[in-house]
C-alpha cells in the first residue's frame, strides 16, 4: 500500500536531509511503529504521506500512485483516505465532540443521516458516547485523543497515521489509546504510529522501523523500541 522508493527529503533552508535514502514497503493492514530520536525524520515521514511536502528525491508511492505527481486539487481527496492523529489532538475548541467528529464527514459532503449514524458508531468504538455534547475543554487528555481518533476513523479510511499520539498522556491512558489503535488495525486499517513511548512498543511486539538522522537503521517484524542505552 505504501512504498518509499529511495526517498530523500531536504527542506529548503536546511543543510542536512530530513530523510535520506528511505526504502521500505508497508502492506495493507499492517501495523508499524516508527521510532527514533527527535529530528530523526518521523514527522517528515508523516508529512510526505499526507502530501504536505513532496519528496526531493525518490518516490513515495501510495496505492501504486506517485504522490509527487498528484495534482494540487486532488490532494484533499487523497487526504480523505488517511486518518491522522497528533500529539496535540487538533480538535476545534468551539465545537462539541459530536461536531468535531462530524466535521470529517461534512467536508466530504456526506448526507445528514449518514453523519448521525457514523458519528454514533465512532463514539461507541472509542467509548465516548456519554460525553458526546461536551467541548474539548471539558475533556481529559485521553478523552480528547479518543475524539481525535474517532474523527480520524469515522470515514473508515484505509490508512491511519498517528504522530506521537500518547506524547501528552500518562502511561495508563497511553495504553488505552494503544489498545484502541490496535482494535482499529484489526478491522483491516493500516496503522503507522510514530512514537517515543518505549514501553508500548516493547509491549505490542509489532513491526518497528527505526529512523536515525533520516536513515532507516532497523526494520524488524516483531521488534522492541531499541537497544539498551
Amino acid at each position: 500500500m505504501i512504498r518509499f522508493e529511495n526517498v530523500t527529503k531536504r527542506y529548503k533552508d536546511q543543510g542536512s536531509a530530513a530523510l535520506s535514502g528511505v526504502d521500505l514497503t508497508i502492506e495493507s493492514g499492517e501495523f508499524a511503529f516508527l521510532v527514533g530520536p527527535s529530528g530523526s525524520g518521523k514527522s517528515t515521514f508523516m508529512r510526505l504521506l499526507l502530501r504536505e511536502e513532496k519528496a526531493t528525491g525518490g518516490r513515495v508511492m501510495f496505492n501504486d500512485k506517485d504522490l509527487a505527481k498528484l495534482r494540487r486539487f486532488r490532494v484533499p481527496g487523497h487526504r480523505r483516505k488517511i486518518g491522522a492523529v497528533f500529539q496535540d489532538f487538533r480538535l476545534l475548541p468551539e465545537k462539541t465532540v459530536t461536531q468535531n467528529i462530524a466535521f470529517a464527514l461534512e467536508v466530504i459532503g456526506a448526507p445528514r443521516s449518514k453523519v448521525k449514524e457514523s458519528v454514533a458508531e465512532a463514539l461507541q468504538m472509542v467509548g465516548l458516547s456519554e460525553v458526546a455534547e461536551r467541548k474539548p475543554g471539558q475533556l481529559s487528555g485521553g478523552e480528547q485523543q479518543r475524539v481525535a481518533i474517532a474523527r480520524a476513523f469515522v470515514n473508515k479510511p484505509p490508512l491511519l497515521i498517528a504522530d506521537e499520539p500518547t506524547g501528552n498522556l500518562d502511561p495508563a491512558t497511553s495504553l488505552g489509546i494503544m489498545r484502541l489503535l490496535d482494535r482499529i488495525n484489526k478491522t483491516g486499517t493500516t496503522v503507522i504510529m510514530a512514537t517515543h513511548d518505549a514501553a508500548i512498543v516493547d509491549l505490542m511486539r509489532k513491526r518497528v522501523i527505526e529512523l536515525v538522522d533520516g536513515k532507516v537503521i532497523r526494520d524488524e517484524a516483531r521488534g522492541v523500541y531499541g537497544y539498551a542505552g
Binding site: 499526507l50 494540487r72 486539487f73 490532494v75 484533499p76 481527496g77 487523497h78 487526504r79 480523505r80 483516505k81 491522522a84 487538533r90 480538535l91 476545534l92 466535521f103 470529517a104 467536508v107 466530504i108 474523527r151
Partner: protein, 283 residues
C-alpha cells in the same frame, strides 16, 4: 476589520460613482449645448469696422443674396434664421436686463445676423468659405469654438475625478487583500484542521470570499445611497435651480451608475479576496 472594509468600499465606490456622474453630466451638457450652437453670420452695419465693410451697412440686395447662398448650401445647412437689429436688441435687453450697459445701447448698435443651424457641426469651414467673401458679410463665427475651450476644461476635471476614483478603488483592493491575510492567519487552526481531514480548497476558501463579498455589498449599498442623495439633494435641489441654462444628468443615468458601482465593488472585493486566500491557504 470588516467595518473598515465596508466603509472604505462605500467611500471609494461613492467617489467612483460621482466621477461617473460627472462624466454623465458633462455629456448631458455637451448634448444640450452642441444642439443649440450655431454658426453666426454677422452682417455689416453702421457700427462695423470699415476695413472689413468698406461699403458700410449691408444692402437689401446683398442680404437677399447672402440668404439665398445660405439656403443653397443644404444639406450642410439645416436651417437659417434671420435676426434683425431690433430682435437682437430685444434679446440683449432680456439677457442683461439689470445691467447699466443697457442705457448706452440702441438697436442701431446691435448687429444683424443670420443664425445658421448646421446639419453636421463639423462643416463650419464649408459655410465660412462660402460666405466670408460675400459683400455685406462682416464675420462668420463658429460658436462651437467658444464652447470647446469650456468643454476642454470640463474634460480635464472629469479625468481628475476619475483618477481619484481609480486610486480609491486601488486602496480598497489593498485593504481587502490585507484583511483577508489577517483573517486567514487568525483562522489558521481551523483551516489547518480542515485541510487535514481533506476539505477541498473551495470549501475552505469560500467563507472568506463570501465575507468579503458581503462587506462589499454593504459598502456598495451605502455608496448607492450616497449617489442617490447627490442626485436628489445636490443636483435637483441646488444645482438645477441655480443653473437653468443647461441640462442635468437624469435619474436613468443615475440608476445605471448605481448598478455599475455596486457590481464593481462586489466583483473587485470578491476577486481580491479569492486571489488572496488562494495564495495564503495553499493545500
Amino acid at each position: 476589520m470588516t467595518i473598515a472594509v465596508i466603509l472604505t468600499v462605500a467611500v471609494s465606490l461613492t467617489l467612483f460613482g460621482t466621477g461617473l456622474l460627472v462624466r454623465g453630466q458633462v455629456e448631458a451638457m455637451k448634448d444640450y449645448w452642441y444642439d443649440r450652437v450655431e454658426v453666426s453670420v454677422f452682417l455689416c452695419g453702421q457700427a462695423s469696422d470699415p476695413k472689413i465693410c468698406p461699403a458700410g451697412a449691408i444692402t437689401a440686395a446683398q442680404r437677399t443674396a447672402t440668404e439665398a447662398k445660405l439656403k443653397a448650401l443644404t444639406p450642410t445647412v439645416e436651417g437659417v434664421f434671420y435676426e434683425s437689429q431690433k430682435e437682437a436688441f430685444d434679446r440683449f435687453k432680456q439677457q442683461f436686463k439689470d445691467s447699466p450697459i443697457l442705457a448706452n445701447v440702441t438697436p442701431a448698435s446691435m448687429p444683424e445676423s443670420f443664425r445658421v443651424k448646421l446639419g453636421n457641426p463639423e462643416d463650419f469651414a464649408v459655410v465660412a468659405t462660402a460666405l466670408q467673401s460675400l459683400p455685406g458679410v462682416e464675420q462668420v463665427q463658429d460658436q462651437r469654438k467658444l464652447l470647446e475651450k469650456f468643454f476642454k476644461l470640463l474634460n480635464g476635471l472629469q479625468l481628475i475625478a476619475l483618477g481619484i476614483a481609480a486610486a480609491m478603488l486601488l486602496v480598497t483592493v489593498l485593504l481587502v487583500v490585507n484583511t483577508m491575510r489577517v483573517a486567514a492567519f487568525s483562522r489558521r487552526r481551523e483551516t489547518g484542521i480542515m485541510k487535514l481531514v481533506g476539505a477541498s480548497n473551495l470549501y475552505i476558501q469560500l467563507p472568506f470570499v463570501l465575507e468579503a463579498a458581503l462587506a462589499a455589498a454593504l459598502g456598495g449599498l451605502l455608496a448607492v445611497g450616497a449617489i442617490a442623495a447627490e442626485k436628489a439633494l445636490l443636483v435637483d435641489k441646488v444645482l438645477e435651480p441655480s443653473f437653468r441654462f443647461t441640462a442635468f444628468v437624469g435619474w436613468p443615468e443615475v440608476y445605471k451608475v448605481m448598478i455599475i458601482i455596486f457590481v464593481t465593488g462586489v466583483v473587485l472585493a470578491s476577486g481580491a479576496a479569492l486571489l488572496t486566500v488562494r495564495r495564503y491557504l495553499r493545500v
